[in-house]
């Protein structure tokens, strides 16, 4: 297992497109790094560059303190699991797993022992003599992981491995990957576009967009303190509400003015008054997550502002009911207890936990406070 450091890595294609514009990420030995972002953000490209499948235009990548820019994939001591599993179609599962070891001229006894160990760990011993074409998606996924495990590399790379599985299987495999990480304490770099996978699996998350790391930190950190509008909206489901609002001074408080059909309310903000003062009178984007707008009974703090809102539509999900209201002409999602939620057309008292709210500058999209 080894640490990974990516220093100011850039990638430009031959036709001039800048795919990666200066990536800086460092993780310790044994950490689980997630690269997450929308399609085209460059995460798969970055993964390919760590693997050595793609050239690095500028910058360095070091695995275990050794610079690997010039090394071919086979010399970087990495293993990779692909979205489409990429199992060798003409070989059995056993041959698939042992292929890499064979190439490295590992003695046969060692190969057999490794295959046995890996197969047991992934519960695929009964599949060893089958060919990829004779297995289900989930089974193929395990074999792909087995192939990677057999190599016992310094770093495991995963390229959207669960995207081709159905929802139920995806959840199962996610847990298995997490268990595997806990057991083996391996260094993992995992690419996904699914923010739930990102949150549940990673030790550290790098949210990427347009070839730049928008934010790098622990899952909870990114969830609670998003650096900009994009990160705030990307992480969390249902996603954060973005309400355009004006910052007003109301007595000794500074707050945001929120209006619906019936009237307006000023929600006082407990954040840094100095920072807020600069924005009095200006338009900001008020970001507040659905679970921070809820019914009076569920709200677990006293003294939070309350507002009566007119309900447009409700979506019962089982554990909660999502209540949609219109504030400042924006559709806002609120998470309430199923028994407390009222019906469309009615008015309901909603408590706003403003301590968790964030404000964004509408021009720069960066977080103000």
């Amino acid at each position: 297992m080894a640490a990974l450091s990516i220093n100011n890595v850039c990638k430009t294609y031959a036709n001039g497109t800048d795919v990666l514009k200066g990536i800086n990420i460092a993780i310790e030995d044994g950490e689980f790094l997630i690269l997450v972002g929308p399609s085209g953000c460059g995460k798969s490209t970055l993964l390919n560059m760590i693997a050595g499948l793609d050239d690095i235009s500028s910058g360095d990548i070091a695995i275990g303190n050794k610079r690997v820019n010039e090394l071919s994939p086979k010399d970087r001591d990495i293993a990779m699991v692909f979205q489409s599993y990429a199992l060798y179609p003409s070989m059995t599962v056993r041959e698939n797993i042992s292929f890499g070891l064979e190439i490295r001229k590992t003695p046969k006894a060692d190969i057999d022992a490794t295959v046995k160990r890996v197969a047991e760990m992934l519960q695929i011993t009964h599949l060893l003599e089958r060919k990829p074409g004779q297995m289900s998606g989930g089974q193929r996924q395990r074999v792909a992981m087995g192939r990677a495990l057999a190599r016992n590399p310094a770093i495991f790379l995963f390229d959207e491995p669960l995207s081709n599985l159905d929802a139920k299987l995806r959840v199962e495999m996610r847990t298995e990957i997490k268990l595997m990480h806990q057991r083996l304490k391996s260094t993992i770099v995992y690419v996904t576009h699914d923010q739930i996978e990102a949150m549940t699996l990673g030790d550290k998350i790098a949210v990427m967009k347009d070839g730049i790391v928008q934010q790098f930190g622990s899952p909870q950190d990114i969830y609670d303190n998003p650096a900009n509008l994009f990160v705030a909206g990307f992480i969390g489901s249902p996603s954060m509400n973005f309400i355009p609002a004006t910052v007003v001074q109301s007595g000794s408080d500074i707050g945001v003015k929120i209006c619906d059909d019936n009237g307006c309310v000023v929600l006082p903000l407990p954040h840094d008054k100095a920072k807020l003062a600069a924005f009095v009178g200006k338009e900001v984007i008020f970001g507040i997550r659905p679970e921070q707008i809820t019914d009076a009974r569920t709200a677990y703090r006293e003294g939070l502002p309350v507002m009566a809102c007119h309900i447009d539509v409700i979506e019962p999900t089982g554990p909660d009911t999502l209540v949609f209201v219109s504030l400042n002409n924006t559709k806002v999602c609120c998470r309430t207890h199923p028994t407390e939620a009222k019906y469309p057309g009615e008015s309901m008292d909603l408590v706003f936990d403003v301590s968790k709210a964030v404000l964004f500058d509408p021009q720069t999209e960066a977080r103000i406070v």
Binding site: G52, E70, L71, S72, D75
Partner: protein, 300 residues
Amino acid sequence: MSGSSSQGSLHALADRWLPKLVLSPTLAASLIFVYGFIAWTGWLSFTESRLMPRYEWAGVVQYQALFENERWWTAAANLGIFGGLFILFCLLVGLLMAVLLDQKIRAEGALRTIYLYPMALSFVVTGTAWKWMLNPDMGLQKVVVDLGFTDFTFDWLVNPDMAIYTVVIAGVWQSSGFVMALFLAGLRGIDDSIIKAAQVDGASLPTIYRRILIPSLRPVFFSVLLILSHIAIKSFDLVMALTGGGPGNSSDVPAIFMYQFAFTRGQLGVGAASAMMMLFTIVAVLVPLMYMETRSAKRV
């Protein structure tokens, strides 16, 4: 476990250069044997070469000789007639057979085999067979006469005005099966649900074919046109075997013209010029076709 970093970079280097190295012989061959040779022939067409090649620039003297040559114009005209009819009938027959075969016919496999086997034959064999069948005294003519139509004549093969049309008959026989195969594959590739939607809309079968299926064959149509044009312009084997270019030079085609002037008559310059003309014709026909094909692909 990783090797030393110098070995690592060696592998990376090999990965980088080996593909190019492997491809290079073929590319070199293409450069020499295709582009280089075309340039050589082109150069030759601008010289005064006769029996032996000469390399001094002589301007367009050979092209002039070519264009003043009656026989060349006969050959060019024949190419136009043959090419046009050949392509037209191949398309019609091929499309018709494809549509018919698309009707879930019982013996489809057997029929397809029968329609396609001519493509497995050499044009020389085809020419030989049809030469016999269209033999004025003993072929088709005799069959019809024996049936009682004593005045029937079918002497196209030896008739200077009609000889070129015999080439059309034999050519269509050979190639229409191939066109059928392509159109059939195209028809089969059409999404079933489109047809079902049309049936629900109340369209009759001929209408479905006419308004939906055949128009969606456009890309196939272009490919077929490309290939048939190519076959037509290059026609040499078939004509040689069937008519030998005769009677006289009446069914001459540019390919035969080139062969005879270059190799039998020792007129390398004219031969080269005629070859270049054939190249220009192919480019003039194929390039717009390919352009139209990529354009229509984008639109669809």
